[in-house]
C-alpha cells in the first residue's frame, strides 16, 4: 500500500468515470471505460489484491470493452446524452 499512488489513481478513476459517462460518442465512451478498467486494475495491484488485479486486467480492460464495442457495431454509435 503506497498512499500517494493510491490517491493519484483514485482521482484519475473519478475523472475517467465522469468522462466515459459524459462523451456523446459511444465508441469513445467504451474506450474510456477500458481505461477505467485498467486504472482500477492498477489500484487492485497497489492494494495487494494481485489475483483481483489479474482478473480485472483480463476482464475489465479487455473483454468487457470488446463486448460493448461489438454491441455498438450492431446498434448506433451516437448517443443523445
Amino acid at each position: 500500500m503506497i498512499v500517494t499512488f493510491d490517491i493519484i489513481i483514485l482521482v484519475f478513476l473519478v475523472i475517467a468515470a465522469i468522462i466515459s459517462l459524459s462523451v456523446k460518442d459511444l465508441l469513445a465512451a467504451a474506450m474510456v471505460f477500458g481505461i477505467y478498467g485498467f486504472l482500477i486494475c492498477l489500484l487492485w495491484a497497489e492494494m495487494g489484491a494481485v489475483d483481483v488485479a489479474f482478473t480485472e486486467a483480463t476482464v475489465g480492460a479487455g473483454v468487457s470493452t470488446v463486448l460493448i464495442i461489438a454491441t455498438i457495431l450492431n446498434t448506433r454509435r451516437r448517443s443523445t446524452d
Binding site: 500500500m1 473519478v14 466515459s20 459511444l26 492494494m47 463486448l67
Partner: protein, 141 residues
C-alpha cells in the same frame, strides 16, 4: 474544517472515493437516456462496491496474500512466528470480489444482448424513444 479533513477524510480516503464513484454510477443509471450509457454506469457502480470490499481487507505495510515458501515450510514444523498475519493482506475480500468480476462481465453480456434485441424491435437505444414507441403500440391496440 481542517480538523474535519484530518479526522474524517484522510484516514477514510478510499471509502470517500467509493461513495463518490457509487454516486456517479447510480446517477447515470437513473438519469442517462442511452441504454449503453446506463450499462457503463452500472459497471462503474459495481466497481465501487468492489472497491469498498477490497479496501476493507488492506493492511498497512502488508504484502500480497501469497505465503513465501520458507515461512510456509517453517510453519509446518510448528514455528508459531513463521507466518505473521499482519504482514499478509486479508484474502477473504479478494476471493469474494474475484468471482464477482467474472460474473459481472457475463451478466454485462446478457444485458448487451437485451440491448441488441431492443434495438432490433424499436430501432433505437434511447430510453424516451423506446417508451414513446411502446406507448404508441398500446394506443393502436
Amino acid at each position: 474544517m481542517e480538523a474535519f479533513f484530518k479526522e474524517a477524510v484522510v484516514p477514510h480516503f478510499n471509502f470517500w472515493i467509493y461513495v463518490i464513484i457509487m454516486m456517479i454510477g447510480l446517477w447515470s443509471v437513473i438519469a442517462k437516456n442511452n441504454l449503453i450509457k446506463k450499462l457503463i454506469g452500472l459497471s462503474i457502480f459495481q466497481t465501487a462496491i468492489l472497491l469498498l470490499y477490497v479496501s476493507l481487507g488492506v493492511k498497512e505495510g502488508a504484502s500480497i496474500p501469497i505465503i513465501d515458501h520458507h515461512a510456509a515450510e517453517r510453519s509446518l514444523v510448528g514455528d508459531a512466528g513463521a507466518i505473521n498475519p499482519d504482514l499478509i493482506a486479508n484474502p477473504v475480500p479478494h476471493v469474494l470480489m474475484l468471482t464477482a468480476i467474472v460474473v459481472g462481465v457475463a451478466t454485462l453480456g446478457v444485458a448487451l444482448a437485451l440491448c441488441q434485441m431492443i434495438y432490433k424491435d424499436f430501432g433505437t437505444l434511447e430510453e424516451d424513444e423506446v417508451l414513446q414507441k411502446i406507448k404508441a403500440l398500446h394506443d393502436d391496440v
